[in-house]
Symmetry: C2
DNA sequence: ACCTCTAGCAACAAGAAAAGTTACGAGATA
DNA sequence: TATCTCGTAACTTTTCTTGTTGCTAGAGGT
């Protein structure tokens, strides 16, 4: 029963890039778990498969946020404290994928109308992106963990 | 030579939704053009084909920003003045497509960690979206046209 | 030594989404 | 009536991301 792990969700092919959300989820769980988490375990948690996990976590490893160890007893461990990892860090470790689903056209670079349109749109997008990046930079995984604690407390109280 | 129009760009299938950019481009040109623009003409301008143009412009027509007329001499005309159309109007007329390429996960709605993560992310996205929407609402097509005029003037001066 | 567990990696398959395409219908005008 | 034009449905193409398989290599335990 060692390698009976993966594949649950076959369809429903993700219109959005949910890697950031997933990695944040995983990292916080890793912090609590204490002990290496195997790709298989993580894949189960995310309803995906171990190869996808390794693929995605590779970026985090390269940036020094997690470590991976081969062999028996190996797996993934946090390489930093949660308070030293921001949402922006993880976003960038994932390769800073495009934030916006809306894009510009470059069909007629010399067209002054196109230039005016693109200029207005890029200004707006840059402004929104700056806000998002600032937000991401200002939130650490420790903040999320604290939020978790509060939610847990809240639920405990209600019983 | 009447119907030798469409298809230039076969490949390069658009990673982003560029409909907003394209429609803005078209609308401003329509304002200058004076006279109905056929889907074929517009398709040529955008390096696409007439059916895609109709499909996209349908939303703008339904919201009253443009009119379409069938038959000889028909085509598309502006139904409002440029100063009465904002970028936000067009975005919404296109069905308010998703702005962000990054999404959340709902794998474990009961998981408090996931809740904490999603809460932080949605807050950030909402804030960024509010900024973008405010920007879009504050810019009219007339503003873009003015920007065009300035660029044109600039170029004329440089000669 | 050998066996098992683990990540790393490359290559391929699958599924979905957006755009492109084809085909035909309906209205308008000469 | 012939032709131009949009309206629309159905199908195809292209591309992206993820999922999957198969193999290599390293790390322990037995």
């Amino acid at each position: 029963m060692s390698m009976a792990a993966n594949s649950k969700r076959k369809f429903e092919a993700m219109r959005n890039d949910s890697r950031l959300s997933r990695m944040l989820h995983v990292l916080i769980h890793m912090d609590r778990h204490k002990g290496a988490a195997t790709s298989d375990m993580i894949a189960n948690m995310l309803n995906t498969n171990p190869v996808v996990v390794r693929r995605t976590m590779a970026g985090l490893r390269d940036q020094g946020y997690v470590r991976s160890e081969k062999g028996r007893g190996g797996g993934w461990t946090l390489a930093r404290k949660l308070e030293d990892i921001s949402l922006l860090d993880i976003h960038q470790a994932l390769g800073a994928p495009p934030i916006f689903a809306i894009g510009l056209t470059e069909d007629h670079p010399e067209c002054l109308v196109e230039q005016a349109v693109n200029s207005a749109l890029t200004d707006a997008f840059k402004e929104a992106e700056a806000v998002l990046v600032a937000r991401f930079a200002g939130v650490t995984l420790a903040d999320l963990a604290r939020d978790f604690d509060q939610r847990f407390e809240q639920i405990s109280k209600c019983r």
